[in-house]
């Protein structure tokens, strides 16, 4: 109005605008559409991430993922620290399974410095144990959590209790419940405490019982079936197009598991077969995770049976205060609960890494895939879809 009065009319085409393109398809001023922000602070959003939704009635017509709400520049922080100082920062890149980050950063430095062969046997088994325990506690939250997105809160309570018991074991083994800081370059930071295996076995028996109960509660539940079946379907042809990995890919029959495809540590010595399903919908993905829960319990039992009784926990390595790694680059990956989780690591001969780049599955799952998958979905199903893809925002914005 004032501009008009002054005789000045800005050329809006030249101004950057997020909505400039959308305006062609979705005319918010037509009152047919409504814009809703889901997050960044919303109990249904797993972590600090926002989804901008354009809805028509209850139906989503367009979605856009926004990250950056917790960006703390983890990669850059690690690049400004000594090699041994990286792991306490790295765990923040995925709080849900912190051990995966520790493993990646330790293995990258070991590979580039040539100490990967020196990691003691005992340390390798302990690393596998902590990685599987991390997967287990993630699944104890994730499987019933899917029911939680459909307002089935009971399973979540059961799962969180059992997860706490696994965190008790983590506390015993690593000295912390969530930020374990257990795997360091060269090895691990402690042997199994006395009586650990017995206490773990007690917990695993409780979890066996939980596995049967949650099956009855969720997978033979008419409400869960009605809502989850056929929702947010991933088809095998989408897998490569979107870069879908882990249980999301296995839910539609594409068997991808780094532990099998590119074995690391001693996974080749364990007897397991990654579960799959064919439907590719939320029900199928949750069902695959439920089977994986059984498998993870079994793997922990196998690891505890096969690991040596004692041994060195850390390789003999140079003084950590001036440990320099020769010029080189590497990519190390592992199978996290969410799928292939990798780190690209570059060193330049100095005492600090040149470049650290974490590639987590949520990067594609929660941005490219989620944005497309939400179109046509009901607003009430948005959380369910997001959770079913196992979104972990911190690993998107490292």
């Amino acid at each position: 109005m004032i501009n008009k009065f002054l005789g000045f009319e800005p050329d809006k085409d030249k101004l950057p605008s997020l909505t400039a393109k959308i305006g062609d398809d979705i005319d918010l001023s037509s009152h047919k559409y409504q814009k809703i922000w889901l997050g960044p602070n919303h109990p249904g959003v797993t972590g600090n991430m926002a989804v901008e939704l354009w809805v028509q009635g209850n139906t989503v017509v367009k979605a856009k993922t926004h990250v950056g709400y917790l960006h703390r520049g983890f990669e850059k922080l690690i690049e400004r620290r000594l090699f041994v100082q990286g792991f306490p920062t790295s765990i923040r890149m995925c709080v849900a399974e912190p051990d995966t980050n520790e493993y990646l950063i330790a293995t990258c430095t070991e590979q580039l410095s040539g100490y990967d062969k020196a990691v003691p046997e005992m340390a390798k088994w302990l690393r596998m144990l902590s990685l599987e325990m991390a997967r287990l506690q993630g699944l104890l939250r994730g499987v019933p959590g899917q029911g939680g997105t459909f307002a089935l809160g009971l399973g979540v309570q059961w799962g969180v209790y059992l997860r706490d018991l696994i965190l008790d074991r983590f506390e015993e083994l690593t000295g912390a419940r969530v930020y374990h800081m257990y795997i360091i370059p060269g090895g691990v930071r402690g042997l199994l405490p006395d009586g650990f295996k017995e206490r773990m076995e007690d917990n695993l028996r409780d979890i066996d019982d939980f596995i049967i109960r949650i099956r009855k509660l969720m997978f033979h539940n008419s409400v869960f079936k009605k809502r989850a079946k056929g929702l947010a379907r991933i088809t095998p042809d989408m897998v490569d197009k979107y870069g879908i990995v882990g249980t999301n890919a296995r839910g539609c029959g594409v068997k991808r598991d780094v532990r099998k495809d590119h074995p690391y540590l001693h996974y080749d010595q364990l007897d397991f077969d990654p579960p799959t399903d064919t439907d590719g919908d939320i029900y199928a993905r949750t069902w695959v995770r439920w089977q994986e829960l059984i498998q993870t319990v079994d793997l922990i039992r196998q690891i505890m049976a096969k690991m040596p009784e004692k041994g060195d926990i850390k390789a003999e390595m140079p003084n950590v205060l001036h440990w320099k790694i020769p010029k080189g680059e590497t990519y190390v990956r592992l199978e996290s609960g969410r799928g292939e989780y990798g780190m690209y690591y570059v060193t330049d001969g100095s005492a600090k890494p040149r470049r650290v780049n974490l590639r987590g599955p949520s990067y594609t799952h929660a941005i490219a895939l989620l944005e497309d998958m939400l179109v046509g979905a009901d607003v009430a199903d948005v959380h369910a879809i997001m959770v079913s893809l196992q979104t972990c925002p911190p690993e998107i914005e490292r």
């Binding site: 950590v320 205060l321 001036h322």
Partner: protein
């Protein structure tokens, strides 16, 4: 969808009759024994090395002074202060702690209204969790962040060296030196303890970076005799080395030698940028070319002074050349250090005895200042019965003669009285000469001090024994038995203690426990005194005396006569590194005295 799918979820109701699983009293839940909770520090064990501060990736640790803890050798007097606004409880500080004094207890609850309280000094500020035994400690076994084992130094086998004066320590190779340098945690405790305050962590870093020219520059900042010190320094730095608390201390001395050995003498001037030195037109005379004199000469000539050294003997080096055997310090290495200093323009007059050939007064008149580093060249005697016999010698005298190439009396049986490094030097030199002459060794070194309290370096004792000399400490010499004008041996009794309650020297002996050491020759090596005959009476009356009969000097080694400075063994020590430090400080003092601030 079947009826089953509607009914099955109701099985969850069976849980209603089960006992709840929640913890009844979550506020008083005990954490696991390994839990990483709040810090505790055993401040008596802690030495304030600051390695915890160095490894902390959050900069949560600061080393701060603490009331009641004094700075002393091997202890910075500082203690870590933790900022819980930054700490992430990773416990790297505990894992790297060089003394194992730092730990995390398993306490995890702390409520306070004042945010400043969350910055505290563990072990000093009272906290109720210190009594907890449980918590995070450095993991076991074989979990180290730096090497605890010293890289072994190659040396001649006892068979190879027992009849030879060839240098026995071989020196480090590049790989060995770099591996040894890698063990350093750069705490700087060594620098504080070194009398010359050498930049030890810095030159060790230069070795790691393979920049030995930079290493040499760092050495010459504080020490112009690196080849010599790299071989025979008393290495107080190694005694306090932080790594020594859990493992072997760093071989700081050998690392210094490695830098000096690897730099050829013809490149020194270029590396040290001393090709052209400015002159300020002032002249300083130096008496004695020992470590103190050479050090003063070096730093004075760099400051622009014209320096002339007056040396009584035919070669430079003082006690380093005439007191230390060649197998420990080869003469060509002394020459390397000395020649560099002389090449800077320092003039030296050999065979000139001040007090005889030229008076101190004359020096005072001809020069703007005089520095005296005359050393301790007079042997002390036990004054027991029989010491006036012609075959009772002073070790210092014999060592000088060996260096000068003079023939000395070497009988088949020798007893050395003394437990210090000089006693070991003469014992081992005589053992070599006996080996050359008779093909066997029969030298007994005996001292008042017991094995544990012998002042000699431990390795000297071990090596002397390897060379078949007998070291039999803990005996007090009583008299020398002489029959028909020939020495038969030394009577001794067991020595129980050396000092009384007040700390005065007052040996107590057990007269019942006697022993007799057969000998044809006795060597006394119980310390040296200074020869001040070069100072004429009219000058001496102006000089104030300090404790222990030494002349009083100020912080810059200036005596009560402003133009006369003194340093080295006559003032401090006795050892090479104090001499070097004194010479350096005196050079700065002379500059201050002559030029002003």
């Amino acid at each position: 969808m079947s009826l089953k799918d509607i009914l099955t979820p109701f099985t969850a109701w069976s849980k209603v009759v089960k006992e709840p699983v929640t913890i009844k009293d979550p506020l008083n839940r005990e954490a696991a024994p390994r839990y990483r909770g709040f810090h505790d520090n055993d401040i008596d064990t802690c030495i304030g090395c600051g390695t915890c501060e160095a490894i902390c990736e959050n900069e949560a640790i600061d080393l701060v002074p603490v009331d009641g803890i004094e700075t002393k050798d091997g202890d910075s007097g500082l203690r870590p202060k933790i900022d819980y606004g930054r700490c992430c409880w990773c416990a790297l500080c505990v894992d790297i702690c060089t003394t194992n004094s730092l730990r995390l207890t398993n306490a995890y609850k702390w409520v306070d209204t004042d945010p400043d309280n969350f910055r505290f000094v563990p072990g000093v500020d009272e906290k109720d969790w210190y009594k907890r035994e449980e918590g995070w400690r450095k993991p076991e076994p074989n979990y180290e962040f730096y090497g605890l084992k010293r890289v072994e130094m190659g040396e001649l086998h006892p068979e190879e060296r027992e009849d030879s004066f060839v240098e026995m320590i071989k020196g480090y190779s590049k790989e060995q030196a770099e591996a040894e340098a890698d063990r350093c945690v750069e705490c700087g405790i060594c620098t504080a303890t070194c009398p010359a305050h050498m930049g030890i962590p810095e030159y060790i870093k230069a070795i790691r970076n393979d920049d030995l020219e930079e290493g040499l520059r760092i050495l010459y900042d504080t020490n112009p005799l690196p080849e010599i010190c790299g071989r025979i320094c008393t290495h107080k730095c190694e005694t306090v080395c932080t790594i020594g608390h859990k493992g072997d201390p760093l071989s700081i001395r050998w690392l210094k030698r490695y830098i000096a050995d690897q730099n050829p003498s013809e490149k020194y001037k270029k590396i040290l940028e001393t090709d052209i030195l400015k002159k300020n037109g002032k002249k300083v005379a130096i008496i004695g070319s020992g470590p103190a004199g050479l050090s003063a000469a070096h730093y004075l000539v760099l400051l622009g002074y014209e320096v002339e050294i007056f040396e009584k003997l035919e070669k430079a080096g003082g006690m380093m050349r005439y007191g230390i055997p060649e197998y420990r310090l080869p003469y060509d290495q002394i020459d390397k250090d000395v020649n560099y200093i002389l090449s800077l323009g320092v003039k030296i007059h050999y065979n000139v005895t001040v007090g005889k050939d030229i008076t101190l007064k004359k020096l005072g008149e001809d020069f703007d200042a005089v520095f005296a580093g005359t050393g301790l060249h007079l042997g002390r005697s036990t004054r027991i019965e029989g010491t006036d016999h012609e075959n009772v010698y002073q070790s210092i005298e014999l060592l000088r003669k060996i260096t000068q190439g003079e023939e000395i009396y070497v009988p088949e049986k020798i007893v050395v009285i003394g437990g210090g490094n000089v006693a070991m030097d003469i014992t081992r030199s005589l053992a070599r000469l006996q080996n050359q002459k008779y093909g066997k060794v029969q030298v007994i070194a005996t001292s008042l001090e017991t094995e544990e309290k012998m002042p000699a370096d431990r390795e000297e004792v071990i090596e002397a024994r390897e060379e078949k000399a007998i070291v039999n400490p803990g005996w007090s010499p009583q008299r020398i038995e002489i029959v028909d004008g020939k020495i038969k041996g030394l009577h001794v009794v067991q020595c129980l203690s050396l000092f009384d309650e007040t700390g005065n020297f007052n040996p107590q002996c057990n007269m019942e426990n006697k022993n007799f050491f057969e000998a044809d020759m006795i060597v006394e090596s119980i310390g040296q005194g200074m020869d001040v005959s070069y100072i004429s009476e009219d000058i001496k009356e102006h000089l104030e005396l300090g404790p222990r009969g030494r002349f009083r000097v100020n912080d810059y080694f200036q005596t009560s006569l402003p133009w006369l400075f003194m340093g080295g063994d006559t003032i401090q020590g006795p050892d090479v590194i104090h001499g070097i430090a004194n010479g350096h400080k005196a050079a700065l003092g002379i500059d201050k005295f002559l030029i002003g601030e």
